[in-house]
């Protein structure tokens, strides 16, 4: 998963590395032998030193006195535009791409680099910190449930067809395996077949479900679910809702009502990993109207790129909790940003 992004990022990183190295090699022949064996070959080893600020004399001074090199904007321009295209191709939304590029640029430009230090490390460090900054910290649901009074009420929101119902079944299964008791509220009373869908899931994974008939008030269903959980000392309430577009104010108001009535501890926003730029727009709108405490990204298995994760996390600044990776109940993995970034930019280049 996210293999495409990984591949592309590594290619971009090699380019960044080589373009910095290219100018380094030209300026400082003695630096050449310090290159570690695994670093990429310099792209243009005989480039003339660029007269960009800081001036050449300054550079030489720094080079001789401090044994350091200065990275200039010109060194980076081409490689950064390459990185920009890469991120865009990976579905990172335009504005988020701009932010990441800006971050990498400010980190690298004007930086003094010790001649002995690896260029690779410098670039990887900048990219890594930019991505980590965007992805934030993960969200440990199990820990959260353990440290909060029961029942922990979790409300799932999102636009149509992102996989809320399936995700709830998966999370229910996950929590059950962790030893929690779970009840599901069938709050999607609108879409035909939705109650049957979650009913079948619940039956298969052996979780109690509270449901009314189609067309009922979802707030009432979810209120009943919470009541049931309280009286039966259930640990976790998973509340399904109908998919809705952020542009429909009546449906968003309904969601606000649900929130008022069931008072969820966590609002989880569900979106799909294959979504493009719109992911940003709707995540921001959901965050604005009903809020979101954590994000679940579904369909990560059909997406080898994973830009939506970066876009959404950057836009609403909320942690990613899970990734949905397939059609089975087991196909869900807790999201760990450090691990993902390590994997993307790992040492196996």
């Amino acid at each position: 998963m996210f293999g495409g992004l990984k591949e592309k990022l590594q290619a971009a990183r090699n380019r960044l590395g080589s373009s910095i190295q290219g100018s380094a090699a030209a300026q400082a022949p003695p630096a050449a032998e310090t290159k570690p064996g695994k670093a990429p070959q310099p792209a243009a080893s005989q480039k003339t030193p660029s007269p960009a600020a800081p001036s050449f004399t300054d550079k030489v001074k720094i080079l001789i006195v401090d044994r350091e090199l200065v990275v200039s904007e010109k060194d980076l321009a081409e490689a950064l535009s390459e990185l920009e295209m890469t991120l865009l191709e990976c579905d990172v939304a335009l504005q988020v791409t701009d932010a990441i590029i800006a971050s990498v640029r400010t980190t690298l430009i004007g930086k003094h680099r010790k001649i002995g230090s690896s260029i690779d490390d410098l670039v990887v460090g900048a990219l890594k910190s930019a991505l980590l900054e965007v992805l934030g910290t993960g969200f440990d649901l199990v820990q959260y449930i353990k440290t909060h009074p029961h029942p922990v009420k979790i409300l799932f929101t999102g636009v149509n067809g992102t996989g809320k119902t399936t995700t709830i079944a998966k999370i229910g299964f996950f929590l059950k395996k962790q030893g929690f008791t779970v009840v599901i509220g069938a709050g999607d009373t609108y879409r035909a077949g939705a109650i049957e869908q979650i009913g079948v899931h619940a039956e298969r994974i052996g979780i109690k479900i509270i449901q009314h008939q189609e067309g009922a008030d979802p707030s009432a269903v979810l209120f009943d679910t919470v009541q049931y959980a309280v009286s039966h000392k259930i640990d976790v309430v998973l509340a399904d809702t109908a998919g809705r577009f952020h542009t429909k104010s009546n449906l968003m108001n309904q969601l606000e009502k649900i929130k008022r009535v069931m008072k969820p501890d966590l609002v989880v926003y569900v979106d799909e990993a294959v979504a493009g730029n719109d992911a940003v727009v709707r995540a921001a709108e959901f965050e604005r109207t009903v809020g979101a405490d954590a994000v679940v990204l579904t369909k990560a298995d059909m997406d080898s790129r994973g830009g939506a994760a970066i876009s959404i996390a950057h836009t609403i600044g909320k942690p990613l909790m899970f990734l949905g990776t397939g059609q089975g109940y087991d196909d869900i993995i807790p999201f760990d940003p450090v691990q993902v970034v390590e994997e993307l930019l790992g040492s196996d280049a």
Partner: protein, 440 residues
């Protein structure tokens, strides 16, 4: 964000507006903004690069047609290139046929199947639906509930696990139907066994059409997925769903480019009636985040014919209420005011919130009021005194205040036109709009 984009696109276009010779730098800038607009609408990055290359070459190489300025010239090329992509012949014929629905999970196949059934039913076709989704719980309940609402027979069996068997039985059971739509389980291109399954379903049904359902929000992945589906079952049409959100549907553009097919339908709502035939103009406007390009050119041409508004008389300062009436009518023909304003080359002109709605409803009111005036009053508005005002207001079901406002608006227009005549021929739209908003 997107607003910024479309304004920057408009700014880039504006720079071309007054030019009579093509300016390489300005074209390059426009292309750059165009690329950003398309990418942020989720059009595949590679496709954007190809497109912009073609647009750039054509803009610089082609002769400027007589009577057009550079801006129109470039706009037309942009429009033509985009239309060329989406406007493949995706004909929907009303004849006996089988339609196979394919798409990713959660793209809206089942809902769209029901909408299509409704669409063809309304056109008088005997329609039936087969639910070949044996995987997702509740899928059969969903489609059968929707079909029951519109009285279309739906074949399926939630207990059956073999989609191929179901399809065969379904075709047999719905033999008397002229048009059969086969709904399938959501799948993506990396699930090899499911791709095999849909290839087999396609063989069994001998489907006339194989339509790929694409979520408007689908991003860069659209190309790849469409390509794999196309390889498997030869997609001959694309349906975009969820266009009622804010997504621009650029993924669908990538998909049609990949499958060399056209966009057949657009789904834009939750009820069973919310399905439209594809309209390239609206779609492209949305992609670029700016006004309706082609429509502007065409509508403006046909709406303001020479005989509609007597320009000469107006320029002489003889502007009567009658002229204003014609003007409002002409505006009405061109569509909602907001659209017209969006189409005009005004760059990033800031308009106060709500000014569009207020002014367009006002215009309707004004026309009604003018309908209650006598011919004499229309020709010479100075005749209108307070008792006439009372009469007009009664006749139009409005208030004397509103009539007074109309007169004020008329005087303002008259002044503006005088200014137009005097001041070097520059029609100051911005000033006009400011006055518009002051009058709410």
């Amino acid at each position: 964000m997107l607003d910024n984009l479309s304004t920057s696109l408009k700014d880039a276009l504006k720079k071309l507006a007054g030019k009579s010779v093509i300016d390489r730098a300005a074209v390059d800038e426009l292309i750059k903004d165009l690329q950003r607009a398309l990418i942020s609408s989720d059009v595949n990055v590679k496709l954007v690069m190809e497109l912009s290359k073609a647009i750039r070459t054509r803009s610089l190489d082609e002769q400027l047609p007589k009577g057009t300025n550079v801006r129109e010239h470039v706009l037309r090329i942009v429009y033509q290139e985009l239309v060329r992509l989406v406007w493949a012949s995706a004909d929907v014929k009303l004849e006996p046929q089988t339609i196979l629905m394919a798409g990713l999970q959660g793209s809206g196949k089942t809902t769209t199947t029901a909408k299509l059934a409704r669409y063809f039913q309304k056109k008088g076709m005997k329609t039936g639906v087969i639910c070949a989704d044996t995987f997702r719980p509740g899928a059969y309940d969903q489609i059968s509930t929707l079909c029951a609402k519109i009285n279309v027979p739906c074949f399926g069996n939630p207990q059956e696990k073999d989609a191929l068997k179901l399809t065969r039985e379904g075709l047999e059971a719905l033999k008397d139907r002229e048009l059969v739509i086969v709904d399938t389980q959501g799948r993506h291109a990396l699930e090899a066994d499911l791709i095999q399954e849909i290839i087999k379903i396609n063989t069994i049904t001998k489907a006339t059409h194989r339509w790929l359902v694409i979520d408007a929000a689908l991003g860069q992945q659209a190309s790849e997925q469409a390509r794999r589906f196309h390889e498997a079952i030869n997609i001959d049409g694309v349906i975009i769903t969820k266009m009622d959100g804010t997504a621009k549907g650029g993924g669908a553009l990538s998909a049609v480019a990949e499958t060399k097919s056209g966009i057949v339908f657009i789904g834009s709502g939750e009820t069973i009636e919310d399905l439209e035939r594809f309209d390239p103009d609206g779609f492209i406007s949305r992609l670029l985040g700016m006004g309706d390009l082609k429509a502007l050119m065409e509508r403006a041409e046909e709406a303001i014919k020479a005989d509609d508004v007597d320009v000469n008389a107006m320029m002489k300062g003889k502007f009567t209420l009658r002229d204003m009436y014609k003007q409002l009518e002409a505006l009405n023909k061109m569509g909602p005011l907001k659209q017209i304003m969006g189409m005009l080359p005004m760059g990033n002109m800031e308009l106060p919130e709500g000014v569009y709605d207020v002014t367009s409803t006002k215009m309707v009111r004004y026309r009604i009021i003018m309908d209650s005036m006598t011919a004499g009053e229309l020709d010479d508005p100075t005749l209108i005194n307070s008792s006439r005002m009372q009469r007009i207001a009664r006749g139009a079901g409005s208030t004397p205040d509103e009539v007074r406002e109309l007169i004020k608006y008329y005087k303002m227009m008259q002044r503006t036109l005088k200014g137009l005549r005097g001041g070097g021929g520059k029609f100051n739209m911005q000033r006009l709009m400011k006055r518009f908003s002051g009058m709410q």
